[in-house]
Amino acid sequence: MSARAPGQGRGLAVQAALLCLILIFCVFPFYWMVTTSLKTQLIALQEPPAWIFSPTLGNYTEVLFEDGVGRTLINSLIIAVSTTLLAVGLGAPAAYALARFEFRGKKDLWFWFITNRMVSPIVLALPFFLIVRHLGLLDTHLVLILIYLTFNLPIVIWICTDQFRAIPYDLDEAAILEGASHWRIFRSICLPLAMPGVAVSAIFSFIFSWNELMYAIVLTRNTAKTAPAMAVSFMEGYNLPYGKIMATSTLIVVPVLIFALIASKQLVRGLTMGAVK
């Protein structure tokens, strides 16, 4: 393969050009988001759009210190971390049971867990709104933490079941002969070995929760408002503050992107694990 055939140089040049094109296509919107966030409103509304300008951090100080975006970022963080911990805490044992125990209705249960991921959130948003309003729990962190379980729990169960199945059963058998309980085996043997899968499912669950908008705008108003819902609330009125919207967007997206890049190997594995099997 490594021997250079004639014409390979040109092939490589074409490949490089195509790869660069893909790179630019993927990254350009982020470039535009960040540069727009550094523009004053006057420059942002220039026509045609300005590529070269003197950047300012004014939008960031304004959204963080005057509009309260900082607080919504903290809300998003609290909600995403809590729901992730809850999903892993509930989902990992369930995944272990699905991978290890034999019981009636296992297939149906599995299908039900997974179907939850397919259901459009609007289906649940309507009744959830009415119930939560009735209970006086609108605009609380708890409500979002709970409802995000509807998509996080299936993801955790899906990925972790796969992971537990990959651990040799001999280990369990040996431990059973030693007289260990199932919980003991789960905690001391299988869970540590399944950590890669658990971590991947936690990352997914965090990213999905951090990014969610629809439940957030339906179920929160002020106290528990998340950052995406905050970004949307800048959209009201005619003279849209593009710089502020993009500054808020950047604050929302950049942490997730850094997170995703660091864990990119595991993320791709998690995405494709379910898909290829």
Partner: protein, 292 residues
């Protein structure tokens, strides 16, 4: 490979998950069915009354509902083939031997669109596709295209949505197919390449069977995600102009929370749920038999 255990042990492992999902998944669903059988308007809560299947009758004969449904599947029908075509191209490109550094960089860049907050994608759409201040029209201007009213014109807004859907999800398809390509045993692939110089024949007869499971998963996940599509469209067009981008989830949100007719919206939601379940059953029946 697995064992029978006492009911109590089993329940201690799996019970909490079942209870949690029943609490946040099934409970509300039952309530939605109840709501859907009533006249239930948030602005006229004193007049809540049982009206049987009237809401359902209304939805099933409502052109607005079926238009939104049709639009949703039209989006899937346009975006998914594009995603698969581009995704396959990217996967094949990355699978080829070549400049390792650039390939690694591209693979990293592919992770970014998928992880991006959907709502932010829509906001970016507003900024970049703006008729006056948008960079898209500026770039098109460089190649001699007159400014296009992307967001404001019903005929174009739909394609702005298609564009972002393709931008965000082609990388996912590419990575899934790339993973499929790496499962082809190298010796088989090399033997095939000695037999023929046609990349198409290699793809069709050698690689395709290994790509099928990934393609099926992409089809299922993209169908589900298109039926769910809300955040990006809501932040970019709010379903407009008119109802040019009113996809099914956007429609239900509008009826339930902007027209306040929770009864009707619940009936729409229940019908959407039935369609989702039937589709996913169908997919699993049809494809998983073949694949497994």
């Amino acid at each position: 490979m697995s064992s029978r255990v006492p009911k109590r042990t089993l329940f201690s492992f799996i019970g909490p998950s079942i209870l949690a999902l029943a609490l946040v998944g099934i409970g509300p669903l039952i309530y939605a069915v109840w709501t859907s059988l009533h006249f239930f308007n948030l602005t006229k809560l004193r007049q809540v009354e049982f009206i049987g299947l009237d809401n359902y009758a209304h939805v099933l004969t409502d052109p607005i509902f079926w238009d939104a449904m049709g639009r949703t599947f039209l989006l899937l029908g346009i975006a998914l083939p594009l995603q698969i075509a581009f995704g396959l191209g990217i996967a094949l490109l990355l699978h080829q031997p070549g400049i390792g550094f650039l390939k690694t960089l591209t693979r990293l860049a592919l992770v970014l669109p998928m992880a991006t907050t959907y709502a932010v994608v829509g906001l970016l759409g507003q900024v970049m596709f703006n008729i006056k201040y948008g960079v898209v029209n500026q770039l098109l201007g460089f190649v001699g295209v007159d400014p296009i009213n992307w967001i404001g014109d019903p005929a174009n807004a739909f394609y702005a949505v298609v564009f972002w859907d393709v931008w965000q999800w082609t990388p996912f398809v590419a990575l899934v197919l790339l993973a499929g390509l790496t499962t082809v045993p190298p010796e088989i692939e090399e033997a095939a390449r000695l037999e023929t110089r046609s990349w198409w024949k290699v793809l069709r007869y050698v690689q395709l069977p290994f790509l099928l499971p990934g393609l099926v998963a992409v089809l299922i996940l993209r169908t589900a995600d298109t039926l769910k599509l809300f955040d990006m469209v809501f932040t970019m067009t709010r379903g407009g102009p008119g109802n040019a981008t009113e996809f099914i989830s956007i429609l239900i949100q509008r009826v339930g929370f902007r027209a306040f007719d929770q009864g009707l919206a619940s009936a729409q939601a229940v019908i959407l749920l039935v369609i989702t379940i039937v589709l996913s059953q169908l997919y699993i029946r049809v494809f998983y038999k073949e694949v497994r």
